[in-house]
């Protein structure tokens, strides 16, 4: 455990309450909002006289958001380095991360990838909780076939916030906490390629979440997470929050993707060849391709939406010479790759964990990599399956049917690798393993129901109904969230340093698995029976099914709250130190001490041999060569 001893003494720096930290950031953020808001009030050109009638000045509000975000980031200290360099000071990047006791580091901009990943975990967790609460409120409303709890505006705002929160914030739900933490470790690097950008992506995402929640002060937005125009252009100022939120998310996504891709490409340790790259790192790389290429599309689309609202540019307003199809196409060119941004890291987690718990090498390493890369590339060629009945020219419908169904081939590779890895293994049904197996179960139904949506004749009925909604909840909630919990139970002890209760974890798993299927399974039927999405009323004959779903959804919510209790119990109350390698993993991060020292490796490791050296050859010798060379370094 001499990793930290070798590091140079911490640069003595007084960090008081008034330094660059979250408190300062919030103060400057609020100040920035009001300053920009006041300035925006001066912009009131003749061409946008409608602001008088509507009683809202979108220029002011959007500038206010921009000012608030800038103030927030300046308060965290993101401007310090560029300003110092501009003034001619030498760079003062810390060459060594040093351990800093206490929890203060979590409320500041930091360049330690492990601290940032914990920030991501908590930060995204909070917004996941808010998004989940929205879902509970939606299901409360749907207990009855008519309006009974919320007004129609509030209901649609809840629907939109739930969707945006989950589709926006959760794009980094897996990569934020786990890729930031694990990618440098798994490839034998001590940091990310751009540590300050890594911190920037996190804090921008937090600012984005606050922008989205602020919509409730401006009348909410009635468009759902897809924000279809020209309905968006009609919206009150609450829609500005939607635009601002997704713009920030898209920038954050793009930067996160660039940063991770640069890290994986350039910062691998000696011996970490492409064919030795752990499959989780491959999944991150595939996701990065999607994020870097798709997210800028969203930024541009939202910018056009902002121009429509502030300058009457009319990109998306047919009466002003624009087209509603333009938004639909631009949005889904981003939107379809985006759902794979959510799904692919889940593939990586499951394939990474299975060898550990089946005690076998990963079955079909190349096939699994090809699968994830294939999904990533094909996902750019399927977006018009969201527009099968939209009224755009129908000639390409057979093509999009084909391309959409082809994407199930690389997805199938992942399933084959899952089944192959388990074959004749010695399967240890621990909590992370249970979540991995549940992933396979849920994603299978998500995938099969997707085929119904890709088939145009079948999609005519299922499009825009609860069937689609059940489909993507099976892939995203059943895929991403279940694999996320697998990752939490697996790496949580390493990241926090405390043991998680296996017994309580199993209770959490079973309640979550059953209530998840009980919630979303019947929704396939609800959709088949003709209930459109995002409605506040529904026919009386669907009441029984909807009530069943709502009650199951509340159980699902309780199950997630129970997880929160497990986490708090482990980290705050029990504080039982975790073992260094409780899962007997042969991966490099488990060979490091728990918790991992700030500077990660005392020496840069050298890799050799198979990334999954589990299992024994018939003769009895261990397969796959030696274990990573770092083991002795600590």
């Amino acid at each position: 455990m001499t990793a930290t001893a070798n590091a140079p003494a911490p640069h003595a720096q007084r960090r008081g309450v008034l330094g660059f930290n979250l408190l300062t950031a919030v103060i400057l953020g609020v100040a920035g909002y009001w300053i920009a808001y006041a300035l925006g009030g001066l912009i009131h050109g003749a061409s946008i006289d409608s602001f008088d009638d509507t009683g809202q000045n979108d220029v002011q509000i959007l500038l206010g958001y921009a000012g608030g975000v800038v103030g927030f980031l300046v308060g965290l200290g993101f401007a310090n380095y560029p300003i110092k360099r501009t003034l001619g000071h030498p760079p003062n990047i810390p060459t060594h991360e040093v351990d800093e006791p206490g929890i203060g580091k979590y409320f500041r901009m930091t360049t330690d990838h492990k601290v940032i990943s914990m920030q991501y975990f908590i930060g995204i967790g909070i917004f996941f909780f808010v998004g989940g609460l929205n879902a509970m409120l939606i299901r409360t409303e749907l207990l009855s076939p008519t309006t009974h709890v919320f007004g129609a505006n509030q209901y649609l705002t809840l629907v939109g916030m739930h969707g945006s929160m989950m589709m926006g914030m959760m794009t980094s739900g897996m990569l934020g906490p786990f890729a930031n933490y694990l990618v440098p470790l798994l490839i034998g690097s001590r940091r990310m390629a751009f540590p300050r950008i890594e911190a920037l992506t996190f804090w921008m995402l937090m600012a984005a979440g606050c922008v989205l929640v602020s919509t409730i002060f401006f009348g909410g937005f009635q468009t759902g997470w897809t924000g279809y125009e020209p309905l968006g252009a009609q919206g009150t100022a609450g829609y500005d929050a939607y635009l601002g939120f997704f713009a920030l998310v898209s920038i954050s996504m793009c930067l996160l993707g660039l940063n991770l891709a640069a890290t994986i490409v350039t910062m691998r340790a000696p011996g970490m060849t492409w064919s030795r790259l752990p499959v989780f790192v491959w999944s991150v790389l595939a996701t990065c391709v999607l994020m870097v290429l798709a997210a800028p599309m969203l930024t541009a689309t939202l910018l056009m939406g902002v121009m429509d609202r502030t300058m009457y540019s009319g990109f998306f307003v047919p009466g002003l010479g624009g087209s509603a199809f333009l938004w639909e196409n631009l949005f889904w060119v981003f939107g379809h790759p985006e759902v794979y941004v959510l799904a692919i890291p889940g593939f990586g987690i499951v394939l990474e964990l299975l060898p550990v718990f089946a005690r076998k090498p990963l079955w079909g390493y190349r096939l699994s990599v090809a699968g994830m890369m294939g999904v990533a590339l094909f996902s750019f060629f399927v977006w018009q399956h969201h527009l099968f009945v939209s009224g755009i020219d129908a000639d390409l419908r057979p093509f999009y049917m084909l391309s959409t169904e082809i994407i199930s081939l690389p997805t199938g590779f992942t399933f084959l690798c899952v089944m192959g890895t388990l074959w004749r293994g010695r399967i240890r049904l621990t909590v992370p393993m249970l979540f991995c197996l549940a992933w396979a179960f849920n994603f299978l139904f998500g995938g099969i129901s997707g085929v119904f949506n890709s088939d145009v004749p079948s999609d005519v009925t299922t499009h825009g109904s609860f069937f689609v909604m059940a489909h993507f909840h099976y892939t995203i909630m059943g895929g991403l969230i279940f694999s996320l919990f697998a990752a939490i139970y697996y790496w949580g002890p390493k990241m926090t340093g405390y043991k998680f209760s296996e017994r309580l974890g199993k209770i959490h798993f079973w309640t979550m698995f059953i209530s998840f299927n009980s919630t979303f399974g019947p929704l396939f039927a609800v959709g088949f029976l003709g209930m459109p999405r995002r409605v506040i009323t529904y026919p009386m004959n669907l009441k029984a099914l909807n009530d069943w779903v709502s009650i199951s959804a509340f159980c699902l919510g309780l199950s997630l709250l129970f997880f929160l209790w497990i986490l708090v119990k482990a980290v705050v109350f029990d504080r039982e130190p975790a073992e260094q390698n409780p899962w007997h993993s042969k991966s490099i991060e488990w060979q490091l001490p728990t918790p991992i020292p700030a500077y990660d490796f005392a020496q840069i490791p050298t890799f050799s041999g198979d990334p999954y050296p589990y299992g024994e050859i018939a003769g009895g010798a261990a397969a796959g060569g030696s274990e990573p060379a770092t083991v002795g370094a600590s």
Binding site: Y228, F325, W363, L402, G412, M419, W423, A440, T461, I536
Partner: protein
């Protein structure tokens, strides 16, 4: 390592075969006829066929994965988690299984895409096809034209062949090819007549054509299936398919009732462009 002589693969194949052999007929013959959107029109019945085929094909696929996973968990589970960590065999792949998997899934996918395309090209499947339809099913030349005008938040229907009258309810004759022209006056809506098997987005300034061949008289629901604002959930009404004689009676009466109002309507057109800028009061 203990040597396991059981032929797991053969055992698994048998379980899969039996499960598939039992479940597929159940899905086709028990679940199948109940699948949406019912037998109300030719297009709706066509969608049911598609749904049955997809369901039937997904049974062997789902069983292949589920049975394998269940079998693996049952047969290869480590029963003693507290004992020493025992390693499994170091199998890293099997190229012939991978090849067969690729061949089978590819053929399935190509079949599905081909099947779906053929089904789509047969009768348009009731989906909105835009202003220049890819599929013009037989009889579409003489189809009854009905315009669906969506606006926030109700549908109205216009019959260009009957003096361009506009009505608040949709009534169409039985055993007739109907050509819906779906358009919107403001934002994007979606005209979804569930029992007819028709869904077509209503876009401002766009004429979205969907064909449907009705069968026997029945009543059906119309819902908006694209989020269109605050009353989206309330944007529904009911329509009827009636016999040809009843339709003639109904349309004559409607012409009398709504004829005067039709004079103030703009001349029939595929799309309408009301001013996008509200004047306000």
């Amino acid at each position: 390592m203990q040597t396991d002589q059981t032929n797991h693969f053969r055992r698994l194949a048998w379980i899969w075969f039996i499960a598939t052999a039992i479940l597929t007929p159940i899905v086709i013959f028990v679940l199948g006829p109940g699948l949406p959107p019912g037998n109300g029109t030719v297009q709706a019945a066509g969608q049911v066929t598609d749904n049955i085929v997809l369901m039937a094909l997904s049974v062997p696929v789902a069983m292949a994965v589920l049975v394998t996973l269940a079998y693996e968990i049952w047969a290869f589970r480590e029963r003693d988690l507290d004992g020493p960590v025992l390693e499994g065999p170091a199998i890293t792949g099997n190229s012939s299984i991978q090849m067969w998997w690729l061949i089978i899934t590819t053929s399935l996918v190509l079949f599905l895409a081909g099947f779906g395309s053929v089904r789509l090209l047969e009768d348009g499947s009731g989906g909105g096809q835009g202003p220049s339809p890819l599929v013009n099913p037989a009889g579409s030349k003489k189809a009854l034209q009905v315009q669906v005008i969506a606006q926030q938040w109700e549908f109205t229907y216009r019959y260009p062949g009957y003096g361009g009258i506009e009505t608040p309810n949709l009534v169409i004759p039985a055993n007739t090819m109907v050509e819906f022209h779906v358009t919107s006056l403001d934002v994007v809506h979606s005209f979804w007549a569930y029992q007819l098997g028709v869904k077509a987005d209503a876009n401002p300034g766009i004429d979205n054509i969907a064909y449907v061949k009705t069968k026997a008289p029945m009543s059906f629901e119309v819902h908006c299936a694209e989020l269109c604002g605050v009353w989206h959930g309330y944007m529904f009404d009911a329509g009827r398919v009636v016999s040809k004689a009843d339709f003639a009676t109904w349309i004559a009466k409607a012409q009398k009732t709504y004829g005067p109002a039709a004079k103030s309507l703009p001349p029939y057109s595929k799309t309408y462009f009301p001013s996008p800028v509200g004047r306000g009061g």
